[in-house]
């Protein structure tokens, strides 16, 4: 999860997020090389004694600074398109969960087998137990089985919201009157945090998302308990 002074991404908990991390590393290396080259050229320009003020055309250098950026863009675009299409693959989800955004809480619906529905409100700081995360904990976590493809259907009841969990690489807008779909697989058990990512009013910062990923039999026990 996020920690103080975190500049990069959180650890990946789904295969798609792993791919995104790797793509980010690739792009960062290219950015590093371009930055190094630019710094070098600036140093060259500041240390040269040569000046020429009558330049009329510069065909060769213009060819270079057109073709080279085109090659750089292709080097970035090809892996980017690969990850983009990977994210859109059809993977036959085992479970469908609906997340409905309200002002200012989330409602989760598990309607595949029984009609299980519950609200997820942020735990106020005053009632937060010691050691728990401020502005991130909720009263009812969204529990899901690990290593199972999950389909999330995200919508909203009032205004725009956005259901986002950075460690899973998921961010889906919750639009009233529209169903948006996201699919992912959680590879490890654990608790993953996210926050509403579309401005939705006064308490936009206070409607977090907490996912608890557990083995399947744990999930079955939990859903039986919740339903009863």
């Amino acid at each position: 999860m996020a920690h103080p002074l975190l500049l990069g991404f959180q650890d990946a908990m789904s295969p798609i997020m792993e791919e995104l991390l790797h793509f980010h590393d690739h792009t960062l290396m290219i950015v590093f090389l371009i930055s190094t080259m630019v710094l070098y050229i600036i140093t060259l320009m500041m240390t040269t004694k040569l000046t020429y003020t009558n330049t009329m055309n510069a065909q060769e250098v213009e060819m270079i600074w057109t073709i080279l950026p085109a090659i750089v863009l292709i080097t970035i675009a090809l892996p980017s398109l690969r990850v983009l299409y990977l994210m859109d693959e059809i993977n036959n989800p085992h479970l469908t969960i609906k997340a409905m955004g309200h002002q200012w809480y989330w409602t989760y619906e598990y309607t595949d087998y029984e009609n299980l529905e519950f609200d997820s409100y942020m735990t106020p700081t005053k009632t937060l137990p010691n050691g728990h995360f401020r502005l991130l904990e909720v009263d009812h976590r969204m529990v899901m089985p690990m290593e199972s493809p999950i389909r999330m259907l995200v919508s909203a009841e009032d205004v725009l919201h956005s259901w986002a969990v950075p460690s899973l690489g998921v961010k889906t807008d919750a639009v009233p009157g529209r169903l948006n779909q996201a699919t992912f697989i959680v590879t490890r058990p654990g608790v993953f945090y996210g926050q509403c990512s579309e401005i939705c009013g006064a308490n936009h910062s206070f409607m977090p998302i907490v996912i608890e990923s557990v083995p399947l039999w744990h999930f079955e026990n939990w859903s039986s308990l919740m339903f009863s």
């Binding site: 975190l6 990069g8 290396m29």
Partner: protein, 117 residues
């Protein structure tokens, strides 16, 4: 719990403040090979031509090309390895599930050996 997940600052080293060579796979090797390539190309050019500024330019070009080449090669192999790891992990997970069924690869292997003998 407050100490969980805090960055070990002594374990990150960011070149130009952005590239974490300690934690990004293949980055350290690429930068090191790039530096070596830069040295070889730059020094070689200087020894051949005795032109200092142009040798630095060649060195810079050698750094960029060698780093990029090593990076792409290493990342490609790393990606292949990760895919193989995923296939193995899934196979291990499904071994018990598929045992003695039509999907069991060991059963197919044994039946092939049986038919050959």
């Amino acid at each position: 719990m407050a100490g969980e997940g805090e960055p070990d600052s002594e374990k990150t080293f960011k070149l130009l403040g952005i590239l974490d060579v300690q934690n990004i796979p293949c980055s350290r090797e690429s930068i090191l090979y790039g530096s070596l390539g830069s040295l070889v190309v730059g020094l070689g050019h200087f020894l051949a031509t005795s032109r200092v500024r142009r040798s630095f330019d060649f060195g810079m070009g050698g750094f960029v090309l060698t780093t990029l080449g090593c990076w792409i090669y290493c990342r490609y192999n790393h990606a292949k390895l990760r895919i193989q790891q995923r296939i193995i992990q899934e196979g291990m997970r499904n071994k018990i599930l598929y045992e003695s069924s039509d999907f069991d690869p060991e059963r197919k292997q044994n039946s092939n050996l049986g038919s050959k003998s």
